[in-house]
Amino acid sequence: MYVAVKGGERAIENAHRLLADKRRGDQGVPEVTLDQISEQLGLAVDRVMSEGSLYDRELAALAIKQARGDLIEAIFLVRAFRATMPRFGASEPVDTGAMRVQRRVSSTFKDIPGGQILGPTFDYTHRLLDPALAQGFVPEAPATAEASTAPTPRVTDILGRDGLIESSPQAEEGASVGDLTREPLNFPADRDLRLQNLARGDEGFLLAMGYSTQRGYGRNHPFAGEIRFGEVEVEFSAEDVGFAVPLGSIELTECQMVNQFKGSATEAPCFTRGYGLAFGQSERKTMSMALVDRALRARELGEEALAPAQDEEFVMSHSDNVQATGFVEHLKLPHYVDFQSELGLLRKLRKEFADAQTPDAMKEAAE
């Protein structure tokens, strides 16, 4: 059978031209600028940076504009861009304890040193659509108060002092940091690779996985020990300079989940923990990440691993929305040859089936 393999070029070209026109929309409406996207759709930019795994607000805003607001398409564009750039190296690990906190809440302790700081949050809003925002809204200037100079230690550090919570695993001397953008993923994967995978994982997928643990599929009894959002300084040990060079600051959200305790004949019982960290203000993402990080520690903590969220191969192989969308969406690309062979086989099978159904006497009569 003849299969058309040529002839799509002009259609493709015209389809992209039509796309560019549709993306612009009604030209009587002002064009949206990258600054507008970055400033007014900031949380979309944060998500594209997190899952695109590239901190650059302007590029994320451009990707959102180019993708017509399709965030997974925008994430795809950012990932493709990063693949074109050389890597200078890795930063010094950021110190979230020294974060210039813009928001910091704990659901486990009312009176934490440094206090409960609500910051810019949707929490406690009534989720009623606000017609005032429809046009020309000018917000009031933010209220101000005297800022405290007291440090805001991580809640887990406070619990850790009394041994009530397990301490964070430390790196072995000279151990390299796993990087799934450089080496293919192998299982079982260490915590560093799992956290890297979750940090760039799809928020919706992680939300569903985290939620499943709460509903009983790998329950781990979580408390939001602390969620903090703010600015941290980034330093890079540049070989040519010879010391750690300040690069500026980035915004991060960190979630410390405090989970069910464990103990043994040799160890006193203490709380366990799950960890979430992501670019920008990404609370749902980091909370989900912390729940899933804790669930994936099932084997290490001697728990039965029966639920999907505890299965690292399942979670890590399906968390990446660029991989996922690539494989799902490739189904719409031409599969004419594959399909023709299936069709040929099916016709043959149906003929055999029909032949078997027809009694020999009928065949003879027909002849």
Binding site: L59, E92, P93, A147, P169, D192, E233, V241, G248
Partner: protein, 154 residues
């Protein structure tokens, strides 16, 4: 002062200057530099964009892991008198990296170190600190005061 102490002092000074400059806009640095009679200098390395892998720590204080990358621009500048300055900054603004490199070279210069601190870095530091103080004050206003809530005052 011995050589090692001198070296450490200068390194701390360079880092402190870079920490301010990385937060400024290229235009702001350029405008401040226009107040100086700059010595002859040349690009040792033209501005170049690339990526740095940003790292976090497990639990905030444990073993490091790779969080995701950031765009970074870098450049190097040499003064006619020999000092070599390096500029690194988040983002893709090559001109900003070049200006930071120039400032870093000037910081190391006997003749220009004082002037660049006074006319460029100090005012930018003041501006940065004012911005941070404003943000901290706005944040502080959202701190929960449980005592007040219970009493129903405020």
């Amino acid at each position: 002062m011995d050589q090692v102490t001198l070296h450490n002092n200068q390194q701390a000074q360079r880092q402190a200057a870079m920490a301010v400059l990385a937060h400024a806009e290229a235009g702001e640095i350029a405008a401040r530099l226009r107040n100086l009679a700059l010595p002859a200098h040349q690009d040792l390395r033209a501005p170049e964009n690339g990526l740095v892998m940003l790292r976090g720590r497990v639990g905030g204080d444990g073993a490091p892991f790779n969080l995701g990358e950031a765009t970074v621009s870098r450049a190097a500048v040499r003064l006619a008198s020999g000092e070599v300055g390096f500029g690194y900054t988040l983002g893709r603004d090559g001109e900003k990296a070049r200006l930071i490199a120039l400032c870093d070279a000037l910081v190391q210069s006997r003749d220009f170190g004082g002037a660049v601190e006074r006319d460029v870095i100090a005012p930018l530091r003041e501006q940065l600190m004012a911005g941070r103080a404003q943000a901290a004050a706005e944040t502080a206003a959202t701190k929960v005061d449980f005592y007040t809530m219970v009493r129903g005052e405020g």
